[in-house]
């Protein structure tokens, strides 16, 4: 692991006496913090659809993502760092996905695996399909493919590790003074409803109602 080498870890600003070089490293808190976090990303054991099978294959011996420190898949969101959204997100499932995301402790990351999780994929037009999990929860890495091959998934996870390398504890959201608000859980109504949008939905429905009333009362106005 290249980032474990001392020259990567050491901050260059301070000179270490030559006799202490093999015992002492001087580094920044960001570096050591990111280094330890990026090498123990525990994914949530959570499969949605076809991509989950490729995720299992990536975990299995041939591709083996434990080489990168991710072998500990946790079935409980309370113990995991990363959610791999592996498959089509449906409207019926999105409340549970948001709830799982809210239950994960910070720092947490989301990887949208495959076309469906990234943007609806081949099923985008379907009436029960959410066109991308990023409509409801923030996504860190998108992996294209239908399904992405295990190599592509590994590449996506390594991309996430690079992203973690560049984070600073001064700016990350979980060390800010303000508390992090939980994402409101969508409600299953006549269609999926985001609680933040109740006002818009009401306005939309009332407009639609008045339009149809005009149509019915005065058919000549339409023609």
């Amino acid at each position: 692991m290249s980032d474990m080498k001392r020259q990567n870890l050491n901050s260059t600003k301070y000179d270490i006496p030559p006799e202490l070089e093999s015992q002492v490293s001087i580094t920044t808190i960001d570096k050591i913090y990111n280094w330890s976090r990026r090498n123990s990303l525990w994914p949530l054991m959570f499969g949605l659809a076809c991509c989950a099978i490729e995720m299992i294959c990536t975990a299995a011996s041939r591709y083996d993502f434990s080489r990168f420190g991710m072998e500990v898949m946790r079935p409980s969101p309370r113990q995991s760092d990363m959610m791999i959204v592996s498959g089509t997100v449906t409207k019926k499932m999105i409340p549970q996905i948001v709830r799982l995301y809210n239950q994960m402790p910070e720092p947490k990351y989301v990887v949208a695996m495959g076309a469906c999780a990234s943007g609806g994929g081949p099923f985008k037009e379907g009436y029960n399909v959410v066109s991308g999990v990023d409509k409801y929860i923030p996504v860190d890495v998108y992996i294209p493919g239908c399904p992405p091959t295990p190599q592509a998934l590994l590449h996506g996870l390594i991309t996430l590790q690079r992203k973690i390398d560049n984070q600073s504890i001064k700016t990350v959201r979980w060390y800010q003074k303000e508390p992090i608000d939980a994402i409101p859980i969508p409600v299953l109504g006549p269609d999926i409803m985001n609680p933040n949008e109740f006002g818009d939905i009401e306005e939309f429905s009332q407009n639609k109602l008045s339009e149809t009333e005009i149509d019915e009362s005065d058919p000549e106005a339409v023609s």
Partner: protein, 586 residues
């Protein structure tokens, strides 16, 4: 007299019999390209009872609805077969679109249970006397019945593909930009979200028996508890939810809840052109895409009236059998996972599966979503060296590795004590619940579509229909090993006999002409009988595209398998049923 009837059941010309028996209520479906009978709604129950009891059509394969919007009618289409084999019978009822009610066949064919619920959910056809008519794929409160032809979704663009916005000029617009909310949502007129009461699964919980007091412990005032497993649960093989009612650790009643991966295959499929549906079938049972291709290709080929060339038939059989092996090793691995042998047996199973996926990748370009079959053949011939690879695999490596799995696993004491006598499904129950594939055969019914109603070139191969007789979880595990061995037998013959020649009838084309009519193509998929019901009205898009999904229908008998067992056994039983949620929910 009765002896003769038993000896020659298929010789009875039942067609005349049924119309003679109910002259006023049963008539032939005389539309061009259609088959079967049209039955008066009032007499449906009686006719079905006669079909099952007097004529031997005891296995109800598929029930589905069709919305003939221009004619203002809806149809419910039934396909029934004999569990002793042979061709089936198709019958339908026609009803007006408004206030559609059909009498339920659950009392004749319990296997209609989940399918009728699906028709109610997607078409709004009520089934009178259905014991538990709730929505199944969508949630309670969802606006409308989506498969009706006059129901359009939020991202609706056009009746059929290719969309005019993209072709021939090729401007691409994003549908979310046109939606006022920027996402795939639509709300009915006059809807008020602040007064909306979300469904709290009250109907679902009331459908459990909730006996209140335990029967065994009358002196103790105990109550049953309801436990939800899933949709996020590591052992449910995806997003599947099971609601169990427990008396202590014992299961009193159980309801499967599905729809968490309902991706609207059928609605999208009715907008796609016939060929565009082929890659969508891959994503049904995503562990065995080649078998799904096979079923759909057969259904459309029957409508088109074409047959693939000889070499393509062999390639199809080779691919379908390799799919069965890869599916079954994966199923065995995951079953062991569910029993608590966490991941080690799976790793061995996945290793073999990867080798088969390499072959798929070589021939089709993709590991999982092969999209390899075409109407009248396959997309392309084997690349050089592939046949040699297959030969090495099936003659040398796989038989050894399957024996190895068998030796290490089948006699393992923990596996036997966890699975023997658990989740028993009797042969009568299995037929009644329309269970198919390994579930049916593990219960002692030697019904295999490859033998019972041969398609493609399966009548040429020498193989046994694997069958086990206990119907428990252990037998459902063993039958998969048996089936792998039989598949290897078929593969050995196919690889030796494969001729040279073209792999596609006619030339490759994007658009196929499919004459008007209906067809039902079914294959023996790894999970069971996979059927495709396709209705064409001569346009480039199918009018109706329905999938008879074995994973879905095998769950009809899931409650019967589980009741009386311990809650920990649910996981093992579900593992032995081997469902794939892409197919269950479609």
């Amino acid at each position: 007299m009765s002896d003769q009837e038993i000896l020659e059941p298929t010789e009875v010309v039942f067609d005349d019999d049924l119309t003679k028996r109910f002259p006023d209520h049963v008539s032939y479906d005389s539309r061009k390209g259609y088959k079967g009978f049209i039955i008066d709604t009032k007499k449906l129950y009686e006719v079905a009872a006669v079909l099952r009891d007097d004529m031997g059509y005891d296995f109800l394969s598929s029930v589905t609805g069709v919305d003939y919007f221009p004619e203002e009618t809806m149809e419910v289409v039934y396909h029934a077969y004999k569990s002793i084999g042979g061709p089936g019978v198709e019958f339908k009822v026609q009803i007006p679109r408004e206030n559609a009610v059909v009498s339920s066949l659950v009392r004749v064919y319990p296997g209609a249970d989940l399918q009728e619920r699906e028709i109610w959910d997607l078409y709004g056809i009520r089934f009178s006397d259905h014991p538990d008519l709730r929505r199944i794929l969508m949630w309670e409160g969802f606006a409308g019945h989506p498969l009706r032809k006059d129901w359009t979704e939020a991202y609706f663009e056009d009746e059929g593909k290719p969309f005019k916005s993209r072709w021939p000029e090729g401007q691409v617009t994003r549908t979310e930009d046109e939606n006022p909310f920027g996402k795939n949502v639509e709300y009915p007129a006059g809807f008020r979200p602040d007064t909306w009461v979300p469904d709290k699964d009250a109907l679902l919980y009331s459908s459990l028996t909730r006996s209140g007091k335990s029967k065994d412990w009358k002196e103790l005032n105990t109550d049953t508890i309801v436990v939800n497993m899933g949709p996020q649960h590591p052992s449910t093989h995806g997003v599947f939810r099971i609601v169990v009612e427990l008396d202590g650790e014992k299961i009193v009643s159980l309801k499967p809840v599905m729809g968490y991966l309902h991706r609207n295959h059928e609605k999208i499929g009715e907008r796609n052109t016939f060929l565009q549906n082929m890659p969508f079938t891959d994503r049904l049972d995503y562990l065995s895409s080649m078998s799904n291709n096979f079923g759909y290709a057969l259904a459309v080929e029957e409508l088109m009236g074409i047959t693939p060339p000889e070499r393509a038939e062999y390639i199809r059989v080779i691919m379908a059998e390799l799919t069965r092996i890869s599916n079954h090793v994966f199923a065995i691995g995951m079953f062991l996972n569910d029993l608590g042998a966490f991941f080690t047996p799976s790793l061995y199973a996945i290793e073999e599966r990867e080798l088969i996926l390499d072959i798929f990748e070589a021939v089709s370009g993709s590991r999982m979503m092969c999209n390899y079959f075409r109407f009248g053949g396959v997309a392309r011939d084997f690349p050089d060296g592939t046949l040699e690879k297959i030969r090495n695999l099936i003659f040398d490596r796989l038989p050894r590795r399957i024996d190895e799995l068998d030796i290490y696993l089948s006699s393992n004491e923990i596996i036997r004590s966890r699975s023997e006598g658990i989740g028993v499904l009797t042969p009568e129950q299995a037929i009644a619940f329309s269970a198919a594939g390994p579930i049916l055969r593990a219960s002692g019914v030697p019904y295999d579509v490859r033998r019972a109603d041969p398609y493609s070139i399966y009548d040429r191969f020498d193989f046994d229909v694997a069958v086990r007789y206990h119907g428990d979880t252990y037998d459902r595990y063993l039958i998969r090993i048996d089936e792998i061995r039989q598949s290897l037998r078929i593969l050995k013959q196919a690889v030796n006999d494969i001729p040279e020649g073209p792999v596609l009838t006619g030339k490759q084309q994007y658009q196929v002409r499919v004459p008007a009519g209906e067809s039902y193509g079914r294959v023996e998929g790894p999970k069971g009988e996979l059927g495709f019901y396709v209705v064409s009205n001569g346009k480039p898009n199918p009018w109706r595209y329905h999938v008879r999904a074995p994973s879905f229908i095998n769950l009809t008998g899931f409650e019967s398998m589980c009741v009386g067992n311990k809650v920990a056994d649910v996981v093992a039983i579900l593992g032995s049923v081997d469902i794939v949620l892409g197919e269950t929910d479609r």
